[in-house]
Amino acid sequence: MVKIEAVIQPSKLDAVKDALLEAGIEGMTILEARGHGRQKGHTEFYRGREYTVDLLPKVKIEMVVSEDRKEKAIQAISGAARTGRIGDGKIFITRIEEAIRIRNDERGETAL
């Protein structure tokens, strides 16, 4: 089992969700985040003083999938979120030790 964490542009969330659904992946957690990589922020004005807002709104999608579906999920996310410009985001993969379904205490890949 692997955990996929994807930081994407908020405007791409709907497209990514639809792509994942089409790929047969249903469980996910969405977080609102702020951050930046190499993307510059934007300037705002307050009383003539210019200041840079560089903590930009982002969306983080987290999901845990079985090893054999990992690549499909990654393709779905990348394909839907990509614009080709700086600021598209990143995907990180980590290994997951265990998954448990709270409702009936199922464990392992069947809990996903």
Binding site: E44, F45, Y46, R47, G48, R49
Partner: protein, 477 residues
Amino acid sequence: MCRGVVRLLVFTAVLGSPIFLLAQGASGGPEAATQARIAALEQAVKTAQASSASAQTAGDNAWMLTSAALVLLMTGPGLALFYGGLVRRKNILGTMMQSFAMMGLVTILWAVVGYSLAFGHGNAFIGGFEHVFLRGVSLAPDPDYAKTIPEQTYMVYQLMFAIITPALITGAFAERMKFSAMALFLSLWSLFVYCPMAHMVWGVGGMLNASGGHFPSLDFAGGTVVHITSGVSALITALYLGKRIGYPKTAMPPHSLVLSFIGACLLWVGWFGFNAGSALNSGPLATSAFINTHFAAAAAALGWTIAEWIHNGKPTALGAISGAVAGLVAITPASGFVQPMSALLIGLLAGFFCFLMVFQVKSRFGYDDSLDAFGVHGAGGTLGAILTGIFAVSAINAAFGTDAAGNPIGTGVLDGHWGQLVNQFAGVAMAWGISAIGTLVLLFAVDKAIGLRVSPEEENTGLDLSQHGEEGYDFNT
């Protein structure tokens, strides 16, 4: 027109009955009949005059009570929202509480002694104690101040001005003053700076009073009394207290320009009560002041917006609403003295001038007048007072009466009365002087007594939690 119709009907009705009696053949001959008719006529005229006066009072009192409500609206929630939106989220309640506290505290002070100090008959500088606890302030008019409305209406109308003036100062020390110190400082300020200044400009015998003062100064609704005093006091307080932690490096943008926008619009509408209500009646002068107020606000919003568009490349919402407020401040002393086209010009000039004050002067000198109380009210009020001396015309308001030949005496420079500028400067100088000195003394005293500024930890936590144990917004529920 309605009054004329009422008069005519009353006249006819009252006149009709005794004539009817006479027609039934009362004895006495033609001479006695004429006398009886004259007597009836006199009675009819008296009754018509009484009902006319009563209609006048009804109109005036209705407008004045409405105006008083509008001016209170300017403080709560107008100013509370305007300032509240401009501070960081952790200070929203603290900021609004400062305005609200004035609504409570100043009311009590005014009722107990403030009205007496401002409008009692004292000397050229301060009123007396004859009206403590509002003794002698009845529902009958006080002819010294407003002939057609109860004196209590006048008192409560003036109270709303006394409330908003210290509330304006809170903009200078936003986000860093203790609630207790603010309450004490502004209470004392209201008694020792506001009341004397109000007396000097509007009180009987005041040295700046347009009727008979030593330097008869034209200040229709309080450009000097309200805006210069609060603006200059704001500057002194900002300098004394020092900058907010992190200023100017840390960005401290407004947490909700939406609230500020709502507040500014409430201020604009409320200002109709502030200026047009200062006519103290519901007649044509109130109309003049109403129109001037609106025109100046609109022109100033435009002026600031254009200046900002050129200077920064984008017209901001904050700039537009600040511009409107600047125009309203500048027209305040002029509202009942100038023509509508002059009001447009005054507004336009105020928009540009206050923009420069905020953008150039503040950054050059580096003081942390957090919400631009000095830049808008102090500077705008000063500009407005001078422009009043230029644009006032007796055709709108013959404030200085008429001369021996019955011609109205010129009021401002447009009437040829250049000397008025001296009087206006006198008013401005007095406002600056009493505010600077009074504020400095009071700040020092309160600082020594209980300390003015919150601790650095409290400032970082925010006023809401540190001063009031509350949070303005709860995003967790």
